[in-house]
Symmetry: C2
Subunit: 171 residues, 2 copies
């Protein structure tokens, strides 16, 4: 599938979407984070056409999310290892999972996150690493960052430096 490129949009969400390419890519990342590495494993688990899988794996390697390694010389066989950048995608997968469990699993959760030290279900929420405060609509919002162009500035105001210029809540 060819679609419009989001590459030029000055939006970190659009840029992330550009890299993960399409749904298959997200499910491949999910499986790679779980420890899957081989073409046949991905293919069997996802029931995906081999030519599409090849294309998606190549794109994920080019985006630096998977690393391709030769594991057999004769015949040449490659495996695909999740990179640190790819592993950083896990919070997005866990957020998607929590959202899916909350809204689209009327029969109950089939897969759930647990705390390994207690065996109890965990309920993932976003907090600010710096302050520990939960991130809500009332407490946190987007602002223009140091690299904001004219379009972002029209929407979000003058760019802030990092750390922000003001510390008293005024923009």
């Amino acid at each position: 599938m060819q679609r419009k490129s989001f590459e030029k949009m000055q939006c970190p969400i659009a840029r992330s979407l550009e890299r993960v390419g399409e749904w298959w890519s997200i499910l491949i990342l999910r499986d790679a984070i779980r420890g899957m590495t081989r073409f046949d494993e991905f293919q069997k688990n996802l029931q995906i056409a081999p030519n599409i899988l090849t294309r998606r794996l190549t794109a994920l390697v080019e985006a630096g999310l998977l690393e391709r390694r030769l594991y057999c010389e004769k015949p040449p066989r490659y495996e695909y290892i999740i990179t640190p950048r790819g592993r950083d995608f896990r919070p997005i997968l866990l957020s998607l999972q929590a959202w899916g469990n909350k809204h689209f699993a009327p029969e109950g959760a089939s897969v759930m996150l647990i705390d390994l030290s207690t065996g109890l279900p965990a309920d993932p929420i976003l907090v600010d690493r710096v302050t520990g405060k939960p991130i809500t609509d009332a407490t946190h919002a987007n602002a223009a960052g140091p690299a904001a162009g004219p379009g972002v500035q029209r929407r979000l105001g003058k760019p802030r430096k990092t750390p922000a210029i003001s510390q008293d809540g005024t923009p």
Copy 2:
């Protein structure tokens, strides 16, 4: 674009992806969460073909993520309001944004999340709402939930009840 349905996969991630449909849907949700409601606004901001926008809006309404409301009777005009279920998608957008800023914004952040009470940048991370513990590969993992079918059980073991049967760390 028609693609394989993920509907039947017993995976909350695949089910979430089924609902948000494709990249456009995520960007429409992003704009709706920001307060956009009208067809023309979405169209202008996303530079999306009207027929595709109509299709994506309809799918988001059907999935319960947007609500369609008549705001003008003559001629009939509709607006699209984010629902609570749609608003619950925000942590996924914020996680995508943080990932994009970290890995795909070499010139610095154009958009960043700030704490409204201090004006300082926030760094969103996932923690368990119950314990407050950060969610990491070492501390949290997926387990079969109460509705797990045979496929999930083969991968993740016997299903757990909610709350989990064991509280001492053994599965």
